[in-house]
């Protein structure tokens, strides 16, 4: 197991180098440069030339790449073009936001999706089963941004129960040592702030988690249906074990395997798909950061951001693989 993990971690190096090269070349191949984005209608050939020279964009690509890598190995991901801040500073603000949002969405999807799927399987063929299938279909079909606007309209505008935008109310002031607003609020001992942060997470989590919820529910249902007809379940019941123990120790534990796979996949999708949710809720996460950077040709953000996201992705995949072995010892990583 240890060798497996170490080997996967070592693979990170060539993966990241290859990716950085790819990204570097790709974004420079795009038409137009950050200069035009900065000045809009006010750009002229002279001003464009000056800005490109300022950012070293008039040098050959390989020279730019080598000098960029020189700074990267020192831990410096460069300075953004639009806001003139260190890329690492913005990363430190954006990434926790995305993690919080993704975690909230996943929690929502898991806490409601698994029970829903479980019940549907147990009540196979009844109206509960059909209703849950319908709900899944709807959840997967509704476009996320439409659901988001609808949720905001009902719960925020009409009912006034939840906020529409942001991570925290502008009238609440707490420090942000970690940039995980939930943790920051707890560290500040401000329960009012903590609850406010949660309120701001609710609608985005529901919107973003709607698809994973539908998928997880369906997979859970299928997995449970599958497992409960296995021999070992019948044996367990024949032994006279209490139904609840059969459900948890035998059915659920074995059904968890495919469910975990799906959760792992959904996490990856969530990280990328959060752009729409972030936009509608003005939630400042990685999604909007990177998409804006593409639009504005903000090279340092794209280079640093994509590098970082790839790094995280490889780690998450590794974690999922390792978790298989923990859940079901029969699966050995060879």
């Amino acid at each position: 197991m240890l060798r497996f993990v170490v080997r996967r971690l070592l693979l990170l190096v060539p993966i990241l180098i290859g990716l950085s090269l790819l990204v570097f070349i790709w974004i420079r191949a795009l038409p137009a440069s950050p200069a035009v984005s900065l000045l809009g209608e006010r750009a002229t050939p002279e001003t464009i030339r000056q800005i490109e020279r300022q950012y070293g964009l008039d040098k050959p690509v390989y020279v730019q790449y080598l000098r960029y890598m020189e700074t990267v190995v020192k831990g410096d991901l460069g300075t953004t073009i639009r806001t003139r801040r260190p890329v690492t500073d913005e990363l430190r603000e954006r990434f926790p936001a995305t993690i919080e949002l993704t975690t909230a969405a996943l929690l929502f999807a898991i806490l409601f999706g698994i029970p829903l799927g479980f019940v549907a399987a147990k009540r196979y063929g009844t109206w509960i089963d059909h209703a849950s299938l319908l709900a899944s279909l709807i959840g997967v079909s509704i476009p996320v941004f439409f659901l988001a606007i609808l949720l905001k309209y009902v719960f925020a505008v009409k009912l006034g129960l939840l906020p529409t935008v942001g991570r925290i109310s502008v009238l609440i002031n707490i420090d942000h040592p970690t940039n995980f607003y939930t943790i920051d609020a707890l560290l500040a001992g401000d329960m009012g702030a903590f609850w406010d942060v949660l309120k701001h997470l609710m609608l985005p989590a529901i919107a973003l988690g709607s698809i994973p919820l539908a998928v997880i529910a369906r997979i859970t249902r299928a997995a449970v249906l599958d497992v409960q007809n296995e021999d070992y379940v019948r044996t367990a019941r024949a032994k006279g074990l209490a139904p609840r123990i059969v459900d948890v120790r035998h059915i659920f534990r074995n059904a968890l395997l495919p469910i975990t796979t799906i959760i792992g996949l959904q996490t990856g999708l969530l990280l990328s798909g959060a752009v729409l949710t972030e936009t509608i809720f003005a939630f400042p996460g990685m999604g909007t950061w990177l998409v804006e950077a593409i639009r504005q040709r903000d090279f340092p953000i794209l280079q640093g951001g994509i590098l970082f996201v790839s790094f995280v992705f490889v780690l998450v995949n590794l974690l999922v693989d390792v978790s298989y072995a923990i859940i079901n010892p029969r699966i050995r990583v060879s």
Binding site: E41, T44, S169, L171, P284, Q296
Partner: protein, 560 residues
């Protein structure tokens, strides 16, 4: 047996939902108005500011914040394009338009308690003049070099000779500025936030100009003036700035002018239009800018919301690139002008907030000609002009429009394009449609002259001067329009430096007539961009240049 487990799960789920619903409660009303004075107003722009230092930015969101904190020597009368005293109470221009003497307002202090005086004024002007390295780049000091040209020591050959020569603090209340060559638009230009006066002490103490230039990853500012200590003389003081979340300002108690009624002004960035509108409806914000035309109806139809109009200060036009044949033939350009159904476009796609443009600058700006050549939609006339030019019909031309964007002067480019293409196709042309995303592809193409024979674009004025419109477009050769007209170039050059106001106005009028004869572009719309507010917000005066002060704003009693 199985039933009990799943029943329990269902019950748990239901309870969880109930707990969540019960826990969510309470009003999310985030404004606290206590009548006419006091309270906090939350206003939403479309993006986070870049830095709070007028000399180093060109984006509207930074300028919005800077306008509350810093002041200029000369102001615009709120809601108009007329000049009025700001930090300078009087001014005198020498007959040769080289020397400007400003009498400064007394009793003004910076937010850090330092006195405002002539020395502070000259310090600021000298600071900009002496910018080095990356600060000379248009990504930083665009507005400075757009007006003053180059710096003390130009580090790029793209920078022209500096217009600024020196500034002398003759005494505490008199600052004398000397230029290297005459300019007649200095006063109008000085209203721009790029020329606002900051506290010299703060500029130095917080290293406003400090930073390193990494040749590949750009300019790394290291000072904290523009991010933590922007200190000016304006009605609001800086409190704090949390990126992508909020920028907090509070009333400056020692302001020389009309003290702010609000206790606090919070500006937050919300990029998505629909999100801004919903935040307003939910009273999480009490006002926002850049209202989409399609939302105007919704807002006007809602009881507790209202729309405020800005006077038109922009122009939407069809640009013609004369480097692409046959656009270099005047008859062909005239045919284009007769072939565009501008009335139809303005009446249908501007939500009632546009007027047909007859010149390349709005009527509010001095120098607008009384009469010019007019071109009403006439497909037959267009066809005969093309035939006179010796061309076989239909004449095929590439016509570019941007996708993915809504501009104040052009809310929906695609609609405009389709209507114009249809009318041109009826007028002896065969339009080849081309499109690209606005930012940065389309803009880059237009700039380089790579956007076909015709392209859709526009311009919002920076300051109330004809030079800022037609001077910007047609004073020199540019790849965008691809023509050289020495008569027009010279006329605009001379007008820029003509010190006699009436003579200057006449020269610009003549230029506008020449432009509408020669048709380097065909203007088609001026629009009134809109802002949205809660009904109980009073005292906001929209400005054509979008620089609005919040010191007159208050939260009234009525409306929720």
């Amino acid at each position: 047996m199985r039933d009990r487990v799943s029943k329990r799960i269902l019950l748990l789920l239901a309870m969880a939902l109930l707990v969540v619903a019960a826990g969510c409660g309470g009003d999310d009303d985030e404004s606290s108005g206590e009548g006419k004075t006091g309270g906090t107003l939350v206003f939403a722009g479309a993006a986070d500011p870049v830095v709070i230092d007028g000399a180093l930015v060109s984006d509207g969101e930074s300028i919005r914040v800077i306008t509350q904190i810093f002041e200029t020597l000369i102001n615009l009368k709120p809601g108009t394009t007329e000049l009025e005293p700001g930090l300078a109470t009087e001014w005198e221009v020498s007959p040769d338009a080289l020397t400007y003497t400003f009498s400064l307002r007394e009793g003004v202090t910076f937010h850090d308690g330092e006195p405002f005086n002539a020395e502070a004024v000259c310090f600021n002007f000298d600071r900009w003049y002496n910018f080095k390295g990356p600060l000379q780049s248009p990504s930083a000091s665009y507005y400075y070099s757009a007006f003053f040209g180059g710096f003390a020591k130009n580090e790029s050959e793209d920078l022209s000779d500096p217009l600024y020569k020196s500034c002398e603090a003759r005494n505490d209340t008199t600052a004398v500025m000397t230029l290297t060559r005459p300019s007649a638009s200095l006063l109008g230009a000085l209203v721009q936030q790029a020329f606002s006066i900051a506290s010299p002490k703060a500029l130095q103490e917080f290293d406003a100009d400090a930073g390193s230039l990494d040749p590949d990853t750009g300019f790394k500012p290291s000072g904290t003036f523009g991010t933590e200590h922007p200190i000016g003389t304006g009605p609001f003081e800086f409190v704090s700035w949390t990126r992508e979340d909020r920028l907090v300002l509070k009333r400056y108690e020692n302001y020389w002018g009309e003290k702010a009624k609000l206790d606090q002004l919070i500006i937050r960035p919300i990029a998505d239009n629909a999100a801004r509108l919903q935040a307003l409806q939910a009273n999480e914000i009490q006002g926002y800018d850049l209202v989409e035309p399609q939302d105007v109806g919704t807002i006007e139809g809602t009881d507790n919301l209202k729309i405020l109009d800005r006077p038109a200060f922009n122009v939407a036009y069809v640009g013609i690139n004369q480097a692409k044949k046959p656009m270099d033939n005047l008859k062909v350009r005239q045919a284009v002008a007769y072939g565009l159904d501008r009335e139809a476009v303005v009446n249908n796609f501007y939500g009632g907030r546009g007027v047909v443009a007859k010149q390349m600058m709005p009527p509010e700006v001095e120098g607008y000609a009384d009469t010019v050549e007019e071109y009403t939609y006439d497909p037959e006339k267009a066809k005969s002009l093309l035939q006179e030019a010796g061309l076989t019909l239909p004449v095929e031309i590439e016509f570019w429009y941007p996708s993915d964007v809504s501009r104040p002067y052009m809310p929906n480019p695609k609609n405009n394009f389709e209507a114009f293409a249809a009318s041109l196709n009826k007028s002896g042309f065969k339009v080849v449609p081309k499109t690209a995303p606005w930012d940065p592809d389309y803009l880059g193409r237009v700039d380089e002259g790579n956007a076909g024979a015709l392209h859709l674009i526009g311009w919002t004025g920076d300051f109330a001067d004809a030079d800022n419109f037609i001077g910007t477009f047609f004073q020199n050769f540019s790849p965008q329009f691809g023509f050289r007209n020495p008569k027009l170039f010279k006329l605009l050059d001379d007008a820029e430096i003509e010190a006699d106001r009436q003579k200057r106005i006449d020269m610009y009028k003549e230029a506008n007539q020449l432009i509408m004869e020669q048709l380097p572009a065909v203007p088609y719309a001026h629009t009134k961009p809109a802002l949205a507010f809660r009904n109980d917000i009073e005292g906001f005066v929209p400005s054509p240049t979008t620089n609005e002060l919040f010191n007159t704003v208050s939260i009234g009693e009525g409306g929720e």
